[in-house]
């Protein structure tokens, strides 16, 4: 029967079973640990090497350069301490750029977030043409930044399409040089950014909505909850992790905003749409020490925002990953 068929375990080598049994436990703690570290080193090593050479070292070098007056040519030999930082924080244009970044961070969250959730809720229902609408909403996000920026720039120019449409429908008095007016340029820019990035937010929210179990809606319906109550008490709380990660991505994107501004206005008019990254490119020209100081300020602001946000808003989502030990 089965008992007879269960032969003693085959031994590959000529070492007896007794020997292997005594050796194995001895080898395990030392040998396996060493092997574990070897594997970690071999697997993480290459990625770590790339990360250190292309992220950590440049960040550290920028911090070093920022303490020098350096035009990018010749040796680093004019140490000026924190003068570059003092200069940055006493330049009204840079302060304005920080303010613009902050405005875009807050406006993005307040405007794009609710808008994206609303559209996602709408698109999550079964309706005719849903696939087409989803695809269309995502088109601006897929479009290359430079192409989108140039198109908007042409549309919004004084002789552009938007003004032509306004004049065509008898609203000529509303026509204006949209991006050339320092009072409105930032809001026009924000409109373009919303158009460009709303699709991404909606897609993220739609993905989050897939994770809300249908049973909960059914249970709520049985208990007599209205549609609004269901959304407010079930969908939104369960969408929480998605909303929080979107806010995180949106904040970091807004802080590092560069390409759309560079293509449409170069930070103008009169600094109205300037951001920290645009300022860094414009004023770092020929003074790489100063440009590095701006880069470090941008890095530190982004890092603080990211850490604070992760510490307080995302700790439940990331429990065990970054915030282990934090309770």
């Amino acid at each position: 029967m089965t008992v007879t068929q269960a032969a003693p375990p085959p031994v590959a080598s000529d070492t007896g079973p007794a020997k292997t049994q005594t050796r194995a436990p001895r080898r395990k703690p030392g040998g396996n640990n060493g092997r574990k570290w070897l594997e970690i080193a071999l697997f993480a090593g290459p990625a770590l090497l790339v990360f250190i050479s292309f992220v950590i070292v440049p960040v550290a070098l920028a911090a070093v350069y920022s303490l020098y007056n350096w035009n990018g040519l010749g040796p680093l030999d004019r140490f000026i301490g924190l003068d570059n930082y003092v200069r940055a924080f006493s330049d009204p244009l840079f302060i304005k750029a920080i303010g613009n970044n902050a405005t875009i961070v807050i406006a993005s969250i307040l405007v794009q977030g609710p808008l994206a959730i609303a559209v996602a809720l709408l698109l999550n229902r079964r309706m005719r043409g849903r696939g087409l609408i989803r695809a269309l909403i995502f088109v601006p996000y897929v479009l290359a930044e430079v192409i989108a920026g140039l198109s908007w720039k042409l549309l919004l120019s004084p002789r552009g399409g938007i003004n032509a449409i306004l004049e065509g429908i008898g609203l000529g008095h509303l026509a204006k040089p949209w991006l050339a007016d320092p009072d409105t340029a930032l809001w026009v820019m924000f409109g373009i950014l919303t158009w460009k990035y709303l699709g991404f937010a909606i897609l993220l929210m739609l993905a989050g909505l897939q994770g809300v179990p249908e049973e909960l809606h059914e249970a709520a319906a049985i208990d007599g909850a209205s549609w609004w109550q269901t959304q407010w008490r079930i969908t939104l709380p369960l969408l929480g992790p998605t909303i929080r990660i979107w806010i995180f991505l949106s904040m970091i994107g807004s802080l590092q905003l560069f390409d759309m501004v560079w293509v449409t206005t170069k930070g103008g008019p009169v600094g109205a749409t300037n951001t920290m990254a645009v300022y860094m490119i414009q004023y770092g020209q020929g003074q790489y020490g100063y440009g590095s100081a701006i880069a470090v300020i941008l890095f530190v602001i982004s890092l603080i925002v990211a850490l604070v946000y992760q510490r307080f808003a995302m700790r439940r989502d990331l429990a065990g990953a970054i915030t282990s030990g934090v309770r």
């Binding site: 071999l42 290459p46 007056n69 040519l73 140039l150 103008g268 008019p269 020209q285």
Partner: protein
């Protein structure tokens, strides 16, 4: 050893090699040293379209034919990429091209001071002598570090058809005549003057021009290299600009208008006949031409020197302009010196003039110019009593953004003439 472990180790090894390769990727290249008989000369310039690109390729081929064993690798890059990224990086990494464009004023000064450029004063003395005074902007403390092949004046490019339509006779010679022309153009519903203030520097040029009109030549000559802006003429420049802006001569939405990109740029407004005038450098015919429907320079495009500014305290014969020159890296081979001499020789300069790509620097090549606008520009230069290089170039790359931004603030009505001087002084203090 078991097999899976071997493959694992191999995979990790390959990945590490890739990472090391990435980390070390900056150290390849080179090959500009003369090993044996053959020498390769690398040559970087900013011509990305014909006729100039074609001329350079021809010159390289001719030089190769005349010098067996010499290979010339000639590449044209987009101007700003070349000036702001490629050349500074190449110089700093110690792997510079042998012959490359060197921008006059502040840039040649900082590159020469860092020891990246070859002193040409002795090795190319004949070529330098032939060029005359036009090498001055590339001279640092008496030593010449690059030889220009083109130098042109700034002036007003205008639409002759629109001028006729508006009934403007001749071209304005004083600022008040220019003001009359602006009024006449407004009367026929044409934007009088296009300015790409969105790119900052085109607005900056207006202030530079008013500074050239307001400051005597001796002040310009000493103040710029010494960064001394105490003379009242620097304030006067801003005040005269303010008075001029009050005339409202510029296109609608000029604060967001770019200079050279698209139909709504200042170049585009000239090309599609929406605006009649633009104050620009010698390259403008080409950039306007690239925005017309047929891609040709329009026949109605004319040029006249900037009008004299009534009552200004500067030198009325002073003119502003800029040019392009070539220099050599400090360790370039002798063959590169010969190539440079050939590029700026009378023969090549005449072909350059005939092509209409720009105003040549070799005096003997000036009569080969066929384009009437370039002829006018060359004539204005030869009559000038003082030639001022673009003020931002003359000051150096760090000054561009703060200076031009301060000027644009005047255009926007939010800045004052004093703000421009303050921006200059603050930038100078940080140097």
């Amino acid at each position: 050893m078991n097999r899976s472990r071997i493959t694992r180790v191999a995979a990790v090894g390959a990945a590490s090699a890739l990472a090391l390769g990435l980390a070390a990727c900056s150290s390849d290249g080179g090959g500009d040293n003369d090993n044996g008989d053959s020498v390769t000369i690398t040559w970087w310039h900013n011509a990305t379209s014909d006729p100039l690109q074609g001329i350079y390729e021809e010159v390289a081929a001719e030089f190769e034919a005349e010098n067996p064993g010499v290979k010339v690798e000639v590449t044209g890059y987009q101007n700003e990429d070349l000036q702001r990224t490629l050349i500074p990086n190449a110089l700093q990494s110690g792997d510079a091209p042998d012959i490359f464009m060197v921008w006059p004023g502040g840039e040649v000064r900082s590159q020469a001071e860092a020891g990246h450029l070859m002193d040409l004063t002795e090795v190319a003395s004949e070529s330098i002598e032939a060029m005359g005074a036009s090498v001055a902007p590339w001279t640092v403390e008496g030593k010449v570090y690059a030889i220009p092949y083109a130098f042109g004046a700034a002036g007003i490019w205008y639409n002759q058809e629109l001028f006729d339509e508006a009934g403007i006779e001749g071209t304005p010679e004083t600022l008040s005549e220019l003001e009359d022309a602006v009024a006449a153009l407004k009367a026929i519903d044409v934007e009088p003057i296009a300015v790409g203030a969105g790119d900052l520097w085109p607005a900056g040029h207006w202030w530079y021009q008013f500074a050239v009109a307001s400051c005597p030549a001796d002040v310009l000559e000493t103040a710029i290299p010494e960064h001394d802006f105490t003379d009242p003429c620097w304030i006067e420049a801003g005040e005269r600009l303010q008075e001029w802006i009050a005339v409202e001569p510029f296109n609608n939405g000029f604060l967001a208008t770019p200079a050279q990109t698209g139909a709504d740029s200042s170049n585009g407004l000239i090309a599609n006949q929406t605006a009649a005038m633009e104050f620009m450098g010698p390259w403008n015919a080409g950039t306007i031409g690239s925005l017309t429907e047929d891609g040709e320079v329009p026949e109605w495009l004319g040029w006249f020197p900037f009008p004299s500014v009534d009552g200004a305290s500067g030198d009325p014969g002073a003119i502003m302009g800029g040019g392009d020159g070539f220099g050599l890296s400090a360790d370039a081979p002798d063959e590169a010196v010969d190539l440079l001499k050939y590029i700026v020789s009378e023969d090549v300069q005449r072909r350059f003039a005939e092509s209409g790509a720009g105003v040549p620097t070799h005096p003997a090549a000036a009569d080969a110019l066929t384009d009437p606008n370039l002829q006018a520009s060359a004539a204005a230069l030869s009559e000038a009593t003082y030639v001022q290089l673009w003020i931002d170039s003359a000051l150096g790359p760090a000054f561009g953004a703060p200076l031009n931004q301060a000027v644009v603030n005047i255009f926007a009505g939010s800045g004052t003439p004093q703000d421009v001087v303050t921006a200059l002084e603050q930038t100078a203090a940080s140097q």
